[in-house]
Symmetry: C2
Subunit: 382 residues, 2 copies
Amino acid sequence: LRGLLERNGLSAAYISSATSFKYFVGYSYLATERPAALIVSAGGDVFFFGPVMERDHLFTQTQLVSQVFTYRDYPGDKHPMRLFAEWLRQLRLTNTRVGVDSASFYSSAWGYRGISLSELEPSIKFTAIGEELYSMRLVKSINEQELIRESVKWGAVGHRLLEKYTQPGLYDFEVAAKASLEASLEMKRTLGYGYKAKNWSMTPVHAGFRGQVGEHSAYPHSISIESPIQKGDVLGTGASADVDGYHSELERNLFVGKPSEKCIRYHGLMLKMQDVALAAIRPKGKCSDADKAVDGFARENGLNEYVLHHTGHAMGLEGHEAPFFDLGDNTQIEPGMVFSVEPGLYIPGLGGFRHSDTVLIKEDSVEILTKYPRDTDSLILS
Amino acid sequence: LRGLLERNGLSAAYISSATSFKYFVGYSYLATERPAALIVSAGGDVFFFGPVMERDHLFTQTQLVSQVFTYRDYPGDKHPMRLFAEWLRQLRLTNTRVGVDSASFYSSAWGYRGISLSELEPSIKFTAIGEELYSMRLVKSINEQELIRESVKWGAVGHRLLEKYTQPGLYDFEVAAKASLEASLEMKRTLGYGYKAKNWSMTPVHAGFRGQVGEHSAYPHSISIESPIQKGDVLGTGASADVDGYHSELERNLFVGKPSEKCIRYHGLMLKMQDVALAAIRPKGKCSDADKAVDGFARENGLNEYVLHHTGHAMGLEGHEAPFFDLGDNTQIEPGMVFSVEPGLYIPGLGGFRHSDTVLIKEDSVEILTKYPRDTDSLILS
C-alpha cells in the first residue's frame, strides 16, 4: 500500500471499505450507519476514524493502528464527515493528494446519508484508488493461502456431518444447524483460544443447504424452503469455515436414498462438465477459458438451457470476488489466485446438479484444495 | 410508488436495491456480482432485469412481476448494463424521465464493476428518487407491523432458550446455535408450510451473544470471543426472527450466577436510563428527544464516559434503518414507526449493560412490543 502511495505521489490513502479494514490491518468492523475510515499515510502511520464504540474494540483485534479519532454517533450534533474533514486537517493532509477507495467516502445500506469530503475540504485532491486497492487482493499471499486451506479442512468436517445428520422429515436448517455447531465445536477445541471468528455469523463453520432441497435445488440461489427433506430428494450443499475472515467453498449434491436414473445421468454429466472446466484452467491462461470450455461442452450435449451461471469466481475475504470464470472475463490467471470451480446443471422440476471445489493456482499447475468425494455413489445417503 | 412517479412526471422507476425488491414486490434477491433491477412503469407494469439464474426463482416468491429480462452472467460477452440499456429501449423509455435509486445503477461489494446507464442511454433523463423510495419505508403499514409483532414473539422464544441453555464452560455460539435451532423448529412447526424465511441466515430465529461475554460485553459490536462462558460473566444477548424479511430486536443482559454489587448497580442505572429514554419518546416528538434525555441522565450521574452509542434506530427490512434516536436527528416521530430503544453503559474490564426493546409508535402512545422480563433478578441464571 505504501508503494502504491509512493508511485502515485499520494500523501495518504483514505479507505472506507470494511473488507479493506480486514485486509490491511486485520480489523473486523461491523459496518452500520456509522461511517468509518482507515487513513494510511505515505510514512506508514495508520489512523482510524470511527464511532467511539470501536475505540477499545479495535485494539483487541489489531496492533497496526497508531491512533484512533472517534465521534459519539451518527448523525450526531455535527455530521461525522465534518469531523473527518477536521481530522484530515489535523493530520496535515490539506493541500495534498489523498487516494480514496470510494467516491461516497462511506457507504452502508443501514440508513447512512453522506456528505462529500471533497466538498468539505476542497484543498485535498482526492484521487480514486479503489481499483488498485482491490487488485492487491487478487493474488493471495502464502499466509492467506494457509488460512484458506484451514478453512477447507473445517468445511469438510462440516460437510461430513451434513451427510451424517441428513434424513427425510428434517428441515434443511435443522441439519445445517446441527452439523455447523458440531463442526464448529470441533474446530474451536482443536485450534484453541488463539482462534477467533472474524465474520459475524452464528458459528465459525457453516454447512447447510440454503433451501436447495428437491425441486428447489434447481434454483442456484434458493433462499429457503417451506417443507422438510424427503426421500428421493436431490440436495445442494455448501460448507465453509471462517478462518481469520477468509473462507472457502465446498459444495456437493447429496441424494436422499437411491437417485433416479435421470438424476444419475445429470449428475454424471455435471461431473464431466466440471472435469472439462478444471482441465481448461491453467496459470497464465485466461479466466474465460474455463467458462468457454463449459459452454462448449453444454452445447455439444444439448445441455445449454440448463446452465444458469458462469463456472466460478475468485474468493478470499468476500463470498465472491473478481475475477470470474466467465465468458466475458479475460483477466489473466495468476499463481496465488483462488477460485471456485462450479459449473452447474439445473433441471426444472427435478433439481440442481452442482459441485463447487476450491482451487489454488500454482506456478505450473492447479491444486484442488477441496479433496472430498465427488462420485455419485459416494454421495448417496442410505 | 406509482403516485411518486406521477407527482414527479416520471415514466418509470429503475430500482436496484435488493432491500427495495423485498419491499416493493416481496422478492428476496441475493445480491452478488450480478446486477439486477426492478422497473416499475407509471402504468403499473413491473419488470425485472437480472441473471438467468433468477428467472424461475423469482416467480416462486412474487406474482407482482409481469416480465423478466435475463442475461447469462456477469461480466458476460456483453456487460449486463448494455443489455439493461437495450431493454429500457424495448420498454419504450427512451426520451423519458426515469427515477433511479442509486447513481451507480447497481452496487455490490462482490466484485461488480459498473458502467453508467446514463452514458449508455443518454436520451433517458435519470432522476434521483432514492430518498423518496427510502422514506416510504419509514412508517410501517399495519401488515408490516404484524410481521414485526410476529418476529418479536419468536425472538422471545429464542431468548427463553438462551437462558435455558447458558452455562459456564460452553462457547457462546454453542448456546446460540442450540437456542436458535430449537426456537426455529418451534416457529416452523407452529406457522406451518406457509412460512418461509426471506433472509439468507442459517435459521429463521437467531438468538445469541455475538461475543458479548464477560469483559467483552463492554464492546457493543463485539464480533466473537476466544473463550467459553464463565461463572460470574455478564452476557449481552440478542434475539430476533425473520418474518417475511422483517425483524425485531430483543436484547438483555444475563448474569451467569450471582452478579457483583458493581454489576447490579450498573444494570440498575442502565434500566433507569432506558426508562428515561422511553419516557422521552412520543408521537410527533423529535427523534433526538430520547437521546438528549439519555445524555442528560448520563451526565447527571457521571456516566457519560460509559455511553458509547446513541439510544436507538428504526428497523424493518434492514438491521438498522433511519431515523435514529440520536442527538443530531431531528426527524419527527410518526405513528407507525418502529424503533429499538437501547441506551447502554459499557464499563471497561467489567462488561456492557444494555437492553434493547422494540417499540411501535401509535397515535397517542408508544407500545413496547418486546414484553420480556427486564429486572436484574429475573435475568440471573442459577
